[in-house]
């Protein structure tokens, strides 16, 4: 773990001044050769951002010094076309993050982001043949401006919230994915994100469009090296699940514990579409993230499976939102959280069933595990029902590793530390089993590491 926290040597081609201004926004846009409409959009977003107050609900944001952040960095490495050309240093980082060997060979479809720009990545030929687009957002805008213009900001408008406005003003990098009608992408598309400079802000913008009858699984994983001062990560992810399409978006974030991770993720789901968010929050100082599904078409389905882990000095304020607009829409939220060493986990969620969403159903299950007497767990759900013909259920429990469970496992010869870790891993299992194997292993490994020496 310790070498994971070492800062990799990285050279930056261009490092904008700290702080934010219209001049900087123009500079970013000019450096990227963006169309005029995008610059206008950025400038409008900047105005909105500056006019909105800092949110006072959720976590404590007073530690962020917005003026001391670099809003744009461009690393030296050019986008790589194939794996052989990938610099050893980046390969090493993948090794540290724990990408398995076999996986690395399949990394043809990988986008890895070092700070503000996608460093390398090339698209698998088979996917390209099917018409699947998988680019960095910057390239996406360059090559498919009409597609980007049609969808960008349609589910997360730039005035949605202060941080979404900030992202809309200074976004850089992120992924752009388009899956054509009836195309099934069997291999998950992956991207690794990373913050690599002190006080580097990351403002990726991701846009995924799954056209009618298509399916895709996108994986985003993060790991950040150690830094002394607070850093900000404010991403926006927008997903469009068209009629009968299916999208899974899996994230495991393990940001270093001084990072503010404030993310807006939202999906628009059309008739018979399915959206599944799988979200693991292990790192960061404060994460505020509530992935949402707008269930707009008949029988659309939204699902959220999440795990939050809060250790010393950490606050995971996470949850989900399910907005039922159409008949027979269904949603499910399963949230598991663990707090330890004074950490705090909060579930914050919304289920809203609008008038006319006849036959809608929603189920929310929140389970929290508090591992010691100094840690904390909160649950703040809002459940609004405006239609009679519906079923909404919400359940939550808070518990601990019981003495009986420990005695049982120790009675089989298992040490107390290991017994604790087993119970915690078992608690997370329903969500962990939904994420790809290597992430699951990574998460279990992390829990075991965090649990070592936890008692006595």
């Amino acid at each position: 773990m310790s070498d994971l926290l070492k800062k990799d040597e990285f050279k930056y081609v261009y490092k904008a001044k700290m702080g934010l201004s219209a001049k900087l926004v123009k500079e970013i846009s000019a450096r990227k050769n963006e169309p005029a409409w995008m610059l206008e959009r950025r400038l409008e977003a900047l105005k909105v951002y500056q006019s909105m107050p800092i949110p006072v609900w959720g976590g404590d944001l007073s530690g962020i010094k917005f003026e001391d952040i670099y809003y744009y960095l461009k690393p030296i490495e050019k986008e790589e076309k194939n794996w052989k050309e990938v610099p050893d240093q980046i390969k090493k980082t993948f090794e540290k993050i724990g990408v398995p060997e076999a996986e690395r060979e399949m990394l043809a479809g990988v986008k890895s982001q070092y700070d503000s720009e996608v460093v390398y990545g090339s698209l698998k030929k088979t996917l390209a043949d099917k018409g699947v687009i998988f680019l960095s957002m910057d390239e996406g805008l360059e090559k498919y401006p009409e597609l980007v213009k049609k969808y960008l900001g349609k589910v997360v408008p730039l005035a949605d919230n202060k941080l979404a406005a900030l992202n809309s003003a200074v976004w850089s990098g992120g992924s752009f994915i388009y899956v054509p009608k009836n195309v099934q992408v069997s291999l998950p598309l992956q991207a690794y994100f990373r913050i690599n400079t002190e006080r580097a802000g990351q403002f990726e913008r991701t846009l995924i469009i799954a056209d009618e009858g298509s399916s895709v699984h996108y994986i985003e994983g993060c790991s950040a090296p150690a830094y002394s001062s607070a850093s900000l990560h404010a991403a926006v992810v927008e997903i469009f699940v068209e009629k009968g399409a299916k999208v899974q978006y899996s994230t495991v974030q393990n940001w270093y514990k001084n990072i503010y991770n404030l993310v807006t993720k939202r999906a628009w789901v059309e008739e018979d579409g399915q959206m599944l968010w799988v979200d693991g929050n292990l790192g960061s100082k404060l994460t505020m993230k509530y992935p949402a599904c707008v269930l707009a078409g008949k029988r659309a389905h939204g699902e959220m499976l999440s795990i939050a882990w809060a250790g010393e000095g950490q606050h995971q304020d996470t949850g989900a939102k399910m907005i039922h607009l159409a008949p027979e829409t269904t949603s499910q939220i399963v949230s598991k959280s663990i707090s330890k060493n004074g950490g705090r986990t909060s579930y914050r969620g919304l289920v809203q069933i609008n008038k006319g969403a006849v036959g809608a159903r929603s189920k929310v299950v929140c389970d929290a595990l508090i591992l010691d007497e100094i840690s904390r767990s909160d649950t703040y759900p809002v459940n609004k029902v405006m239609e009679e013909e519906t079923i909404l259920e919400h359940e939550a429990t808070v518990s601990r590793v019981s003495e009986d469970q420990l005695l049982y496992l120790m009675g089989r010869g298992i040490s107390e530390d290991e017994a604790n870790a087993m119970v915690v891993n078992g608690f997370m299992e329903p969500v962990v089993k939904e994420i790809p194997m290597e992430y699951a292993i990574e998460m279990n490994r992390l829990v075991n590491m965090e649990m070592e020496g936890s008692v006595g």
Binding site: T379, K384, L392, R400
Partner: protein, 152 residues
């Protein structure tokens, strides 16, 4: 068990405090929202001492365009070790014009506790209705019977 009925539109704030070690509190709140209007119940169950037990149930029925909002917070303070708390909220929407919001919240500041809550919103169970109808009871009357049973 203590029971309180809220059958007129308005905002009601109820603070239930468990201030004595080992205290048991059983409370039933019934929101009968049978006329148009907003029925707001803001409920707090505050465990302040060790080994306190809170069992709180809130049931609501909304009809004729009524809107029910129940916000219930269970808070277990750091020193309220070995406390147990359960909060159950259930709302029945009887017609198309009525609405409900149920927000069961928890703030748990220590780990030697048992806490759970549940909330549900739905309409009258069709199977229950069918059963009563099969016994020769007219549908509207069967609904009334089910609502009465639910509230009592």
């Amino acid at each position: 068990m203590e029971k309180q009925v809220f059958d007129k539109p308005g905002k009601y704030e109820i603070n239930l405090q468990l201030n004595e070690e080992g205290q048991l509190l059983e409370w039933l709140g019934v929101v009968e929202a049978r006329k148009i209007g907003d029925y707001d119940l803001v409920l707090t169950v505050d465990h302040r001492r060790p080994k306190t037990v809170g069992k709180v149930i809130v049931r609501g029925v909304a009809e004729n365009g009524a809107r029910i909002r129940i916000s219930g917070l269970v808070r277990i303070e750091k020193k309220a070790e070995e406390s147990e708390s359960s909060l159950v909220m259930k709302v029945l929407l009887v017609d198309k014009e009525s609405k409900a919001e149920v927000d069961p919240k928890m703030e748990i500041l220590t780990n030697k506790v048992k806490a759970s809550h549940s909330a549900s919103v739905g309409k009258i169970d069709e199977e229950q209705l069918f059963f009563l109808e099969s016994r020769g009871i007219e549908r509207e009357y069967a609904k009334k019977m089910i609502i009465n049973g639910f509230l009592n």
